[in-house]
Symmetry: C2
């Protein structure tokens, strides 16, 4: 089966950009099924590689290789081995890591996180859905996971014409998947948790903040989810307070705090409302994290997202002691570091303080940012220190 | 003396932005001398603070404080103490650091670098020029420097109506100012060197690269200046090769290599020409740095700068071994991380390789990035690892 792309897209595809958008497709052979692997040709003639094609999908073409190679179990095994080797020696102090980060690892549409011996898998497009059994075999063989579950409940699937799908894949998946991060034992409920189970991508930031909190001081964890930041801060001796509107997540946090013999205060509710209440209670903190959900799935959402960052940061800065630190994170590809800085600048002005930008951080090594996929950079954080 | 600013600028100045541009000034009392300290008022009436005013300057108003405080030696001493406290415990392993980073430290127009007991000072505007004696007394008292020299030879001065000025300020300034960085002894000639003497701002990146080079492998230092990167790499056992067109800088590098008992290869010439020659010699390297001079002093310069980055990175990537790392730096405020990534992306495509973005780094703690001064962020680097 053959798909031809326009001259304008050829340069990008030759530069290893993995996506062919609707306007890039010149012509597709008839009879290609949704998610079929196709041979991709340039308008001028030459073979460019192979990829999944789904005419009706949000992104019709997803490149897999520039070679004439078979896309089979052996192919997926090679890609998984490459991904593991890319991470080698770089994820330490934990038995949980992202094994496949979709396009960034040359496996468009596959996200796989390993927690101890339990694998969490997400299939995002029609192509991987078609190859589900080869991919699962490859993952089982290369990761050695003894159990796996699926969390293909992402909005992306509907744009691909696929149903949401969750469930057990192989082995004996426990009701609680447990793993460790440094000296903390963490867990989640595989079929109830957000996303693929746990936010592994904030690992380095949790450690960063843990290194900055002071014993006995307040630590404010805004949009805490299951409280990874809070648990680390509490372990370092801070009085952590977690805010989230997800009651199930806060229950998990409560259980983890108990299991780790630390204490974390909980406030269930809308983050901005709770911040307002804390402010009126004249609470103060030595450190804080503002890590909201995506907020901007499209470029148009940026102004609204910035307003939320500004309000959250204003209130957090007001409650921070001088010298205290605030980490502001975004996991939205469309929100840039400059947007966070802008929002923080307005917030500092509102809070009548100044701050040093102590650092800017990005996603950890198991969520690689590959040069050929600009979209693979998504997690950006700024660390402010109030003057 | 009184200056009134327009309503539109009031919000920025209240938000601690230190610059009042030409269009921001509503009205200035007559008789204000170039660089005089003035009281700044909002169009609507209230007092906003004090700053230097130079009607003919590129930036007429430079805010110093939001209070009714005297701008005298005691004021400058307080600001220097604040700057030193901001850096406390954060600059280790060296006896050289930037003490004042102009606006970022609340001292617009003053840059001061301390090398052991010798201070390098730069005065950039008419305001600090008027207060030169108070500022020098304050610097001497707070830093304890036994000797100092001036390097006010910056283009910014001419836009302020000031002459270039260099020379000795106090004490016994040696012909060679020596200092250490980790286990390296470094030096420069105070009145012949570029800028204020030495690029302290690349300190953390030098250490980063030193940690990544492998013994016996090639290290390519493009736009080396006096070779800080090369000396660190050579100390770690790499075969360092430095490229610069400044013969005096390469002589200094040669002397420093001898003093530190390491060997660094030198190539004098235009960086891109030398890279081309090295490529035709089929040289290979395990690590490389591409750290050109500013390249973009205005927004209009960005496209040209990107072309230079792209060509340099293309050649460097071609000569890098798989797994090798390339650091690309810009010290231009106008060039963003995204511009470096764009240039690198095109370069990887030209060099027919892919790369992981292993990290993004910014200036070190003695060159603070303050939230209220967006312009204070200037040094940005991306670290690529060739696949």
């Amino acid at each position: 089966m053959k798909v031809t792309i326009k001259a304008a897209a050829e340069r990008r595809i030759r530069g290893r950009y993995p996506f062919g958008h609707r306007g890039d497709i010149l012509n597709a052979e008839s009879g290609i099924g949704a998610g079929d692997v196709v041979d991709v040709y340039a308008e001028s003639g030459p073979f460019l590689g192979r990829g999944y094609f789904n005419e009706g999908g949000a992104t019709p073409l997803r490149m897999l290789t520039s070679k004439r190679e078979n896309i089979d179990e052996a192919f997926y095994r090679r890609r998984i081995r490459e991904a593991l080797s890319r991470r080698e020696g770089r994820i330490v102090g934990t038995n949980a890591m992202r094994v496949l980060h979709a396009e960034a690892d040359g496996t468009p549409g596959i996200v796989a996180d390993l927690f101890g011996e339990v694998l969490s898998v997400q299939f995002r497009n029609a192509g991987v859905e078609r190859h589900r059994s080869q991919i699962l075999k490859a993952l089982q063989a290369e990761t050695g996971a003894t159990a796996a579950f699926e969390r293909s409940d992402t909005g992306e699937r509907s744009r691909e014409g696929l149903e949401q799908q969750t469930g057990l894949l192989w082995g004996d998946v426990p009701e609680r998947v447990t793993f460790y991060e440094d000296d903390l034992e963490l867990y989640f409920q595989p079929l109830a948790a957000q996303k693929t189970g746990f936010y592994l991508d904030q690992r380095d930031n949790r450690r960063l903040m843990r290194g900055l909190v002071k014993e006995g001081e307040g630590f404010l964890d805004v949009y805490s989810y299951t409280g990874g930041f809070s648990l680390h801060a509490a372990r370092a001796g801070a009085r952590a307070l977690a805010i989230d509107q997800d009651g199930v997540a806060l229950q998990t946090l409560e259980g983890a705090a108990r299991a780790n013999r630390v204490s974390v205060g909980l406030r269930m509710g809308d983050a901005l409302d709770v911040l307002k209440a804390l402010e009126s209670e004249r609470q103060t903190f030595g450190a804080a994290v503002l890590d909201p959900p995506t907020l901007a799935k499209r470029r148009d959402d940026i102004p609204k997202a910035k307003r939320i960052f500004t309000e959250g940061a204003t209130r957090a800065l007001r409650m921070l002691k001088p010298g205290g630190v605030l980490l502001i994170s975004t996991c939205a590809h469309y929100i840039r570091v400059e947007d966070l800085l802008d929002a923080a600048r307005v917030a500092a002005s509102e809070a009548e303080c100044n701050a040093e930008v102590r650092g800017t951080t990005y996603q950890p090594a198991d969520h690689p940012h590959m040069l050929n996929v600009p979209e693979s950079l998504y997690l950006k954080s700024i660390l402010l220190q109030k003057e």
